[in-house]
Amino acid sequence: MSDPNGTSSVGAPTWTDLDAAAAGAAWPTATLPPGARLRALAAGLPGVVVEHRELHAPVEQVWGFIADLPTSVPTFDASVASLEVLARDGTRLRARARSGWWFVRMPLVFDVDLEPGWCWMVSRPRLYVVGMAAEAHPDDAGRTVFTHLEGVPFGGRILGPVLRATRLIQRRHVSSDLDGIARALGLGP
């Protein structure tokens, strides 16, 4: 039974009551932590490498360093001489990175999505992607699980051998970046 307002009264509710209740109630919602989000993206991008590392520092300290991209990126990435933010609209940025290597003269412009614990950078044109994610270690708030992704955002059978070669280089590069981040935070040699 239901009253004219659609709320249940004494006795069994109508199907309309049940529908209204189910539609208005809080349903359980699943979430994807930033690191898992990066790994999910990597699954669809055969040209990228993704690696995670535990850093012995709280996530606020780690992200405090990373989020200042013009300072952090040239510090931890040996291949970047400078990074400049060209435009900013909330969490969306446009940034220009210049290589530190003399043979790579062309600067790369990136569209950046920067949120707490999450950074996703896609170059223009779409030739290169960079992803970074940080979250507190589930068992220790003093540690951070940092996930780093880099590579070319395309694949396919024809490009297979090329991608295998670039992935080897990428793997070393991502590992070097993670070393650089740990060093910059005073955690590494």
């Binding site: 069994a12 509710p13 189910a22 359980p28 993206l41 669809g44 991008l45």
Partner: protein
């Protein structure tokens, strides 16, 4: 695009797979990104991703703790409090089979009709109808217990 998709798939996976929802969402997102290039019509992304999420969520739930029960034998001790806004949907969802949760989710979160639900779930319309009826009966039993 995927940024907007994740919260939507999270609602589907959470409501169907419950405690295994995060794992289901991860698997669904992996399947979506891995197979994105096979999608011929970008406009169909949401519906296509929804099918993947429902499939992964039902699979994750089947491997988890949730066990289908006879709606007529629900434990009255954990009955739903009266009043539309105070309904603990979670208590009811816990008692349903993943397939039944799936029809409730598609009906109430997505507003799909029976034909659309049948397409998403890959079952006959009559099957959807009976699952929905059983799910609603469970809801009703729990409510009035």
């Amino acid at each position: 695009m995927l940024r907007d998709l994740a919260p939507y798939l999270g609602r589907i996976c959470g409501a169907i797979a419950l405690d295994a929802g995060d794992d289901a969402l991860q698997e669904a997102m992996v399947a979506v990104t891995r197979n994105l290039t096979t999608l011929r019509e970008p406009d169909a992304l949401r519906g296509w991703a929804r099918r993947i999420a429902v499939r992964e969520a039902v699979r994750a739930a089947a491997g988890g703790r949730s066990v289908p029960v006879d709606p007529g034998r629900l434990d009255p001790a954990v009955s739903v409090p009266d009043g539309a806004t105070a309904v603990e949907v979670r208590a009811v969802l816990d008692a349903l089979a993943p397939e039944q949760r799936a029809v409730l989710v598609l009906r109430h979160l997505d507003g799909l009709d029976e034909a659309e639900m049948a397409e998403v779930l890959g079952v006959a319309k009559g099957t959807v109808k009976s699952r929905l009826h059983r799910a609603r009966t469970a809801f009703r039993e729990r409510w009035t217990a």
